[in-house]
Amino acid sequence: MSTTGIGWEGLAASTVLVAVAVGLSLWRGLGLERTLLWASGRAAVQLTAVGLGLGLVLAPDTPVAWAWAWVVGMVVFAAVTVRRRAPEVPDAFALALAANAVVVVVSLGVIFGFGIFPVEARTIIPLGGMMIGNSMTATVVAARRIVGELSDKRSEVEARLALGQPSAEASRPYVRAALRTALTSQIESTKAVGLVFLPGAMTGLVLAGVDAADAVQVQLAIMYLILGSVVTSVTVVSLGLTHRLFTPDHRLVRLIRVDA
């Protein structure tokens, strides 16, 4: 066994915790046993498939273009996920696609433009995945909150419009409140890092035997990039969604409110 591998035995041993979760669900009557087993099994299948795919893409003789294609696939899949999780948001797929595309261009542009990491398949895919994954979550929260705020505060928004305010101005206080909510969890995570939990990239590097100081540097760089990516994505979504929720003649479209 290599220093970083856990082997099939290690993997099998880790499923003991799944069994514990199922047992607790049974004991407390949560009715989540099937869901827990399904989620665990699905994760195994998905990660195995991803691992096989990654093995091909990360092979030394595979052109780096395949890694970029992988990132494009992640952008599209993230947009599909946003549409599914935010059904009440009009044009959620297109908005998320635009937001994630901007995030990828900006974040990977900074990462590789400043030479923070080398342009290789082994950096493009995981870094792209982290940026897109975090942005996707924030995008869902931001988009749903914006629609929710404008729906709940429709009378206020229309009172502002009736005073002759343009739609961008009339919606600003409510969009701002929604964005603050969407960003708060990422900011809180950034503040709590190291004190409450060790983030994934750092944990992985330490487990892989990398010096802790080096792992911290990598993790800090990634956290700052994620923070920037999340703010970028929700900004793109808020601009696009505000544009979509108002007509060119400054009317608020009819909105569907779906409780989370």
Binding site: A159, L161, A162, L163, G164, Q165, P173, R251
Partner: protein, 238 residues
């Protein structure tokens, strides 16, 4: 400044919000832009939507809303909304003080101007620093009227503005509106209260199922509600 002309007209206006769901259905009406015109009708008859067509918070799916013969769709919508002010059924208070609320209408307005417009709306100028959320219902609605007046509109759309107020507050808003009309303001007032309609105006239009009621419908609606309103024309008998 945008000039509205002498008459607001609706020409075969329809508003369909979903397939087959028409809130306004073939409405044709002319409203002179002087004095008060009162729209009455049952709940859900389309009165409030008709008001929203006047400042383009809604746009017709068919037909034309026009000011002085010019289609509202051809006018600068933001300028139109500042010239056709709207006060809503329930007082809309924005976060912050009365001053914060008024400055939404005209951010550059000074305290003297704010006090002047508050006085015109029978609100004590000393309330400028009061949280809008702490105002009574009547005070809040008068603050909303003051906020609307700040844009110096030529016409006011009043959407059941007294329905949630007590009798004293209701009377106060009515008197304020009449004094504004004396100063040359045109008002389109929506109510389901026929006594109020009679108190306010000699021009009463009955709205039924999204259009002007035909005489028989108007007669049925007005019958018994007020002997002083002509059941056929919908106008107050002099």
């Amino acid at each position: 400044m945008l000039e509205l002309g002498g008459v607001l007209s609706f020409d075969d206006v329809e508003l369909e919000v979903a397939p087959g769901e028409r809130i306004i259905d073939g409405l044709t009406l002319e409203v002179p832009l002087d004095g008060i015109t009162v729209l009455v009708g049952r709940s859900g008859s389309g009165k409030s939507t008709l008001l929203r067509l006047c400042n383009r918070l809604e746009v017709p799916t068919r037909g034309t809303v026009a000011y002085g013969g010019r289609s509202a769709g051809d006018l600068d919508v933001l300028a139109l909304r500042r010239q056709v002010g709207m006060v809503f059924q329930h007082p809309v208070r924005f976060a912050g003080t009365v001053r914060d609320n008024l400055l939404v209408a005209v951010p550059s307005a000074g305290d003297d101007e704010l006090r002047r417009v508050l006085a015109r709306s029978a609100v004590d100028g000393d309330l400028l620093d009061r949280e809008a959320a702490d105002l009574s219902g009547g005070e809040a609605q008068r603050m909303c009227l003051a906020r609307t007046l700040l844009t110096e509109p030529q016409m006011l759309l009043m959407d059941e503005v007294t329905s949630s107020l007590d009798p004293d507050a209701r009377r106060s808003i009515e008197e304020l509106t009449l004094s504004l009309v004396d100063d040359g303001m045109a008002v389109l007032w929506v109510t389901h209260d026929l006594d109020q309609a009679h108190r306010l105006s000699s021009r009463v239009v009955v709205i039924e199922s999204g259009r002007v009621a035909v005489p028989d419908e108007a007669q049925r609606f007005l019958a018994g509600a007020s002997d002083d309103i002509d059941p056929v024309t919908g106008e107050a008998a002099s």
